[in-house]
Symmetry: C2
Subunit: 214 residues, 2 copies
Amino acid sequence: MSTQEKISVSVIRRLPRYYRFLGRLKDTGVNRISSKELAVRMGLTASQIRHDLNCFGGFGQQGYGYDVPRLYDEIGNILGLSNNYNAILIGVGNLGKAVANHITFADRGFSLNAIFDKNPALVGTQINGIEVQSTDDLKEYCEAKKPQAAFLCLPYEGVEPLAEILYNAGVRAFWNFSHFDLTLKYPDIVMENVHLTDSLMTLCYRMSEQRDVL
Amino acid sequence: MSTQEKISVSVIRRLPRYYRFLGRLKDTGVNRISSKELAVRMGLTASQIRHDLNCFGGFGQQGYGYDVPRLYDEIGNILGLSNNYNAILIGVGNLGKAVANHITFADRGFSLNAIFDKNPALVGTQINGIEVQSTDDLKEYCEAKKPQAAFLCLPYEGVEPLAEILYNAGVRAFWNFSHFDLTLKYPDIVMENVHLTDSLMTLCYRMSEQRDVL
């Protein structure tokens, strides 16, 4: 779509949140909503919502509001959620289990097709219907199945050797829960980090300072 | 500290990352480092590092570099990591277990003192040495023990009734893994959100667009 070129980085970062709110509205049968109502529900201002959503073209009409299902679908398209990227998950400690069990990947652009762990006691067990394979077989799997994304639910120490295998097999996208910064070694990858302890330390800072640093 | 007033929001958001890198340097026996070296290790520019760290006063000296242990301690102080805030965790699915087992709270400003779940089969079990209590006892516990922060490892649907109990018992800080936006109802709280699926959708967008929106 032609307007997409103009969408700013900060708007993109807010898209998943709009998508969630609109999805919830849609599920409860709301077909249209004014920027004012949406602003109240999302804790934003109406003018910010109008500014953000205008980036996607004519989904809001004066006196009518936004067409909820259309806007939801359009944001999903912009996010690329129908891509069904071939993904694997590595590391099935509690965090890996939480990710594998509780996230509906198909709705977020991915198909989780394989799970790996180095612990022999876990290899062969099933997680959400997927059999856990040994990381010893990771290289062979990646060369055969060509996954596009890897979800790294590993501690810092475990990442580097596996990342090398993944990168050499062509994986260029990583959802990274470790503190290992892969982009320093592989600048051409797409990496999205989840740093739980950074978030916790930010909470601590905000409690001690009682400042809003959102 | 007097310089603290001038620290910008964006610098604060980067503090946990500096803290992690400096901690790793300290642990490997590095006592001083130049902004240039630190920049290479962190994937930043030397001038950004000088700008950020100058906010905290004279820890860098020309021709010497940064005093790693002092800067590490000072950033820890600014983050308030010695506060030892009284915290509880609610919801011990896989995510709650991962959080309770793998995060060293004491180093991040918190003491995890109680864990709750609504599932009777889990009540009485131990997680990381802490006995799981029933959410039926949450109100009484909070009134007696006055926790300052609650870690919500719950699905959307579970949050609202428990949040009301917590808020009424004086809890004003939340580490929130659900998509339930507590600040709409309680604007005076401090809330730090971890939205895993937003992060996953952003990865999808970046893969489909191959753009850098970090």
